[in-house]
Subunit: 195 residues, 2 copies
Amino acid sequence: MSTPENTLRAQIEKLVPLSDADWDLLLPHLELRMVKKNTLFAEEGKMGKEVGMILEGCMRHYYTRDGEERSTYFYFENALVGPYLSCITGQPSQISIDALADTQLIVFPYKRLAELFDANKTWERFGRKLAEWALIGVEERMVGLLTLSPEERYNQLLAGNKQKIIERIPQHLIANYLGITPVSLSRIRNRITKK
Amino acid sequence: MSTPENTLRAQIEKLVPLSDADWDLLLPHLELRMVKKNTLFAEEGKMGKEVGMILEGCMRHYYTRDGEERSTYFYFENALVGPYLSCITGQPSQISIDALADTQLIVFPYKRLAELFDANKTWERFGRKLAEWALIGVEERMVGLLTLSPEERYNQLLAGNKQKIIERIPQHLIANYLGITPVSLSRIRNRITKK
DNA sequence: CCGTTTTCTTGTCTTTTGTTATCGTTTTGA
DNA sequence: TCAAAACGATAACAAAAGACAAGAAAACGG
């Protein structure tokens, strides 16, 4: 049955297959949560405590530098989301996560996941796979920043598996994501449509 | 005793403490290797098979784009080095690694590590910690590229725990690492010394 | 539904970065 | 040891991006 819980389980099982017994170790700790548009799910300076998966809506992951927000990731339905680095380092979060639209989540305490890492080899493997998967994503992102021009990065966004970003995220936040100003992005779009 | 093997063990134990029994599972698979200056340790297009730790020397991790080499990481003594992403994805490597000086390594097959992940909870945890540690590093790097100017990135290199890069890496490769041209880096250095 | 706010575009000007080329200096390898 | 290659600084010019401002368009909230 396609309950929110089962959707989460399916996402987890993309990394590691779980027995029902494994799953039952996490299941009681799940909680449904609504995060209203423009409110925070995680906040800079606070300890990361919870992670979750988006059932409906979308969220933004951002740093604050010189009082300016720098958006670094966007999350949509079925994405795992949370102050992951804070959770694994045990340091206060350097980032905030807010909702760009009313967002329905299924969340659980990272602490519970850490307990499962200790208790259970399958969950420990999930922890490895999760980190590896995240690493692959960031590395790809970093290489894009290092080797592609802003225009190429935008085209890559159009071509790749990230159209959701184009479709659902305001342009000035996309500019942010690409490491350029909104004005520059507008000009890039102008250039492209003329081709 | 400070053998090469023990140095590697110490590096691994920075992430996860090992019992002697755990260690003995990897020990027989270690191999000393010399990689001569300007020769490859890993090559784009090939499957990643081995990872290792530098005993002496230094290495460079780079992508090739439009026939140009884009250096992304540098490794020195005690650093773990290898085509890690290729190893974990099972895809051909997108990067090459070469030696910038004659480099002495202690290497082992990633395949053996994967066997240990399957066989042993401690090693599985090491796999998680390793990926998490790598993730933290790349994320920091990515945020720098996204939120700092080239000059700020260079200053960060000077100030941070990366002086080795300044000291031991040719400037045009550092420029590469910062995502700028050698000429730009030369200007930045000129500007800084005048302050 | 209307007024306000946010978002996007466009123009001008300035700054930064890239490109290309030149010139010492250093390093390298035969 | 010596010629060739690599490296770094610098200059002149071109291209790209940023800053700032004004105005149109779209979204939002009461």
